[in-house]
């Protein structure tokens, strides 16, 4: 067969590919079969065209002459003068120019104002969570946690009752042997019976601090591998986090359920300029 006629083969295959694709679509054949047809249709076209260009077309080379620039000196001067002429004309009435610029500037600034509607009250929701004094701790299923529910060494994600799933209020509840906790001065009553709770929002980039090495009492963030020491009020000991996870003060109610003593005492999550 002549070379020219051989090149028709990929085009013919391409037609078959298109038919295959249409059939695969009609028969609900799934992405692999649909994709195979589409692939053959496109690849056949590609191959046919490239072979055509390569083997059935004269290979000619053309030579273009480049425009030379910079342009000739008199052209450049003329362009400069044309621009200057207009600018001079505008400048002759300097006060008009000033007013026109003021008008455009004012319009530009005024046009920025509607942008403010894009963001509600700046910073709203960054300083408080849904935790309140007496808010009971519930699991992600909404079940109230009681003081005998967690074995020592276990960890659970909790929310304030009525706000399950709230992003800012997500908290890790851990139970550790009370004697391993190095309790800071102001936090004596925050960890009854070895229960400690920390904000689950990483202080580095905001990921949920979801991994717990119970043997070492370490919380890990899976995103950037910051490690927090639970025994030292979640102080970062490794990785890019620079601040401890805020601690949620806990207490045990008369009926044995765990509840918050208050909201977090500092903004949770990653740092920002306005944060003291």
């Amino acid at each position: 067969m002549a070379r020219g006629k051989m090149i028709a083969i990929p085009f013919a295959l391409s037609v078959l590919g298109s038919v295959w694709f249409a059939a695969a679509y009609a028969l609900h054949a799934g992405p692999q079969f649909e994709g195979l047809g589409l692939f053959v249709a496109l690849a056949g076209l590609a191959l046919g065209i490239v072979l055509w260009a390569q083997f059935a077309m004269p290979h000619e080379q053309v030579v273009d002459v480049r425009d030379t620039y910079p342009s000739l000196q008199n052209e450049r001067l003329a362009a400069e003068r044309a621009l200057e002429y207009g600018a001079d004309e505008l400048g002759r009435r300097g006060f008009l120019e000033t007013f026109a610029i003021a008008a455009i500037g004012a319009l530009g600034i005024a046009a920025l104002f509607p942008l403010r509607s894009l963001g509600p009250a700046f910073g709203a929701g960054m300083y408080q969570t849904k935790w309140r004094r007496g808010a009971r701790l519930v699991s992600a299923d909404g079940v109230v946690i009681r003081s005998d529910d967690l074995a020592v060494g276990s960890m659970l994600t909790v929310f304030p009752e009525g706000n399950v799933g709230d992003a800012s209020s997500q908290t890790v509840l851990l139970r550790v042997p009370p004697n391993v906790l190095q309790v800071a001065a102001g936090r004596k009553d925050w960890s009854p019976q070895g229960y400690v709770a920390f904000s689950k929002v990483c202080t580095h980039a905001g990921c949920p601090v979801g991994l717990y090495r119970a043997s070492a009492y370490e919380l890990l963030c899976p995103c950037h591998q910051s490690v927090f020491d639970v025994t030292k009020a979640a102080l970062p000991i490794s990785g890019p986090a620079a601040r401890a996870l805020p601690q949620l003060p806990l207490q045990i109610a008369a009926d044995g359920s765990l509840e918050a003593r208050s909201d977090y005492t500092e903004p949770i999550g990653p740092g920002f300029w306005e944060r003291a």
Binding site: P31, A46, I49, D64, G119, G165
Partner: protein, 461 residues
């Protein structure tokens, strides 16, 4: 037919002169000149597939309870956005194929731009008179990264939601304006219900429109300035030698378009990507480990992981850690790229126009700097997967991160120096004048001895 078309156009628009010149325009042939075209053709595939996907996507954070065909998610509360992507993937015919082609095309798009940029860098194609187009190209890269990240985030799945959370944290870390900018972009404190609709608007209108506009500018400047070319006999600073646009170059380029589309289709058909129904919907308190972003965000992820654990308190204000690794570092990186043509002109004191390209070995120091910067970015990219690597290698993530911090300094220096030496060596060999003719004629004398004589004084036998 052709005659009538040409005449009809010329009657009305006077196009004959332009047409004659344009159709015979010279396009230099070199494989590396196709890289930018690959990017362009990925973009065309992205527009075609994305237009289809857009009809099925529901840009809403409205929660709903899933009851579609995928049993594993039955009863799960999810956003309407996530549910619509699951439906598109698992119930709409050809939906998954086109979604996967779209995702692969996005990955190859950014890759082609990056490799194209490396070609332009290492051959000095950014030099005068093409500094402006280098800057325009960089803007295209940034737009492509933005289009990629917004698209990746649209399905509102657990993986991309975590990525958005990190992006938000990086944005609020910017001194003075960060928090307010984040509220303007995201529509409130994360996770805000406004975020998905805004990402959608940016992804399907603002960014593609900008990409089309800036790409047009990029190509218009190439058209005006004509292509660069490598040194070869007959090629000078004042001409361009290559295939004519019509028909040779046009055929090859259209062939490339279909080839790119075919490869992306094969990837989309046979290589699963971003199976969001397996990740589950985004829930702020959940996260999967290990979590890796698309490849082009890897270096930023790596920077955040290796970044210093600094939180600076200044006059009652905070500059948190993500600012240094997530804002300053990439900012400095892009700033360096933007000023490079001008920086190099300062260093070399060479302000003349260049239409002939450098071979990377012609300017070893530039090649060294480029290789070092690439090594830096690659180390960061690998650091972005340090948890996965730690598992494979079998050492702790902490130790691996420490190792990466060392490599981040050592490897670029080493790679840069090696590339410099290597380029210099190749340059010396390439530029050495052809070895003088040292062939000898050895002839036997009548006395039985041997005489050596240079070839040109060849004696008759």
């Amino acid at each position: 037919m052709i005659r009538r078309l040409v005449l009809a156009l010329d009657d009305r628009l006077g196009t004959a002169h332009f047409m004659r010149k344009a159709l015979r325009k010279a396009f230099p042939d070199h494989w590396s000149f196709m890289l930018g075209e690959v990017a362009l053709y990925c973009f065309i595939v992205l527009l075609a597939t994305g237009t289809y996907l857009g009809f099925f996507f529901d840009a809403s954070s409205q929660p709903l309870t899933y009851n579609g065909s995928y049993a594993a998610l039955h009863g799960t509360v999810m956003s309407a956005a996530y549910a619509s992507v699951v439906r598109l993937s698992l119930e709409t015919r050809a939906g998954l194929l086109l979604r996967q082609i779209h995702h692969w095309a996005a990955l190859v798009f950014v890759c082609a731009i990056t490799v194209h940029m490396c070609r332009v860098f290492f051959t000095g194609a950014f030099r005068r008179p093409r500094e402006l187009n280098w800057i325009v190209g960089l803007i295209l890269l940034i737009l492509a990264l933005g289009a990629g990240f917004t698209g990746y985030s649209l399905p509102d799945d657990l993986l991309s939601g975590t990525g958005l959370r990190i992006a938000y944290s990086v944005l609020i870390s910017v001194p003075l304006v960060g928090r307010d900018l984040a509220f303007l972009f995201f529509g409130g404190n994360f996770p805000a219900t406004q975020t998905i609709p805004r990402l959608f608007f940016a992804h399907v209108l603002i960014l593609p429109a900008l990409l089309v506009g800036v790409m047009t500018l990029h190509l218009a400047m190439i058209w005006r300035q004509k292509h660069t070319q490598f040194r070869a006999p007959g090629r000078t600073e004042y001409n361009v030698v290559g295939s004519p646009l019509w028909p040779n170059y046009a055929m090859k380029s259209i062939g490339l378009l279909f080839a790119v589309a075919a490869i992306l289709t094969a990837l989309g058909a046979f290589f699963q990507i971003n199976p969001i129904w397996l990740y589950g919907p985004y829930q702020p308190a959940n996260v999967s480990a290990p979590a890796q972003p698309d490849w082009y965000i890897g270096w930023l992820e790596g920077a955040l992981r290796l970044g210093p654990a600094w939180s600076w308190q200044i006059f009652g204000h905070t500059i948190p850690a993500p600012f240094f690794a997530g804002v300053l570092l990439p900012g400095a990186f892009f700033a360096l790229l933007f000023v490079w043509p001008f920086l190099e002109r300062r260093i070399t004191r060479d302000g003349t126009s260049h239409q002939l390209l450098d071979h990377p070995s012609d300017v070893p120091w530039r090649t060294g700097v480029g290789a070092a910067v690439l090594a830096f970015a690659i180390v960061l990219t690998f650091a972005g997967g340090d948890d996965v690597l730690a598992k494979i290698v079998g050492i702790s993530v902490e130790a691996l991160a420490a190792l990466f911090r060392v490599l981040l300094v050592v490897l670029p220096l080493l790679v840069g120096l090696l590339a410099f030496e290597f380029a210099r060596e190749i340059g010396i060999r390439r530029n050495a004048s052809p070895t003088p003719d040292t062939r000898l004629v050895i002839s036997r004398t009548a006395a039985g001895g041997f005489v050596e004589q240079p070839l040109e004084n060849e004696t008759p036998q």
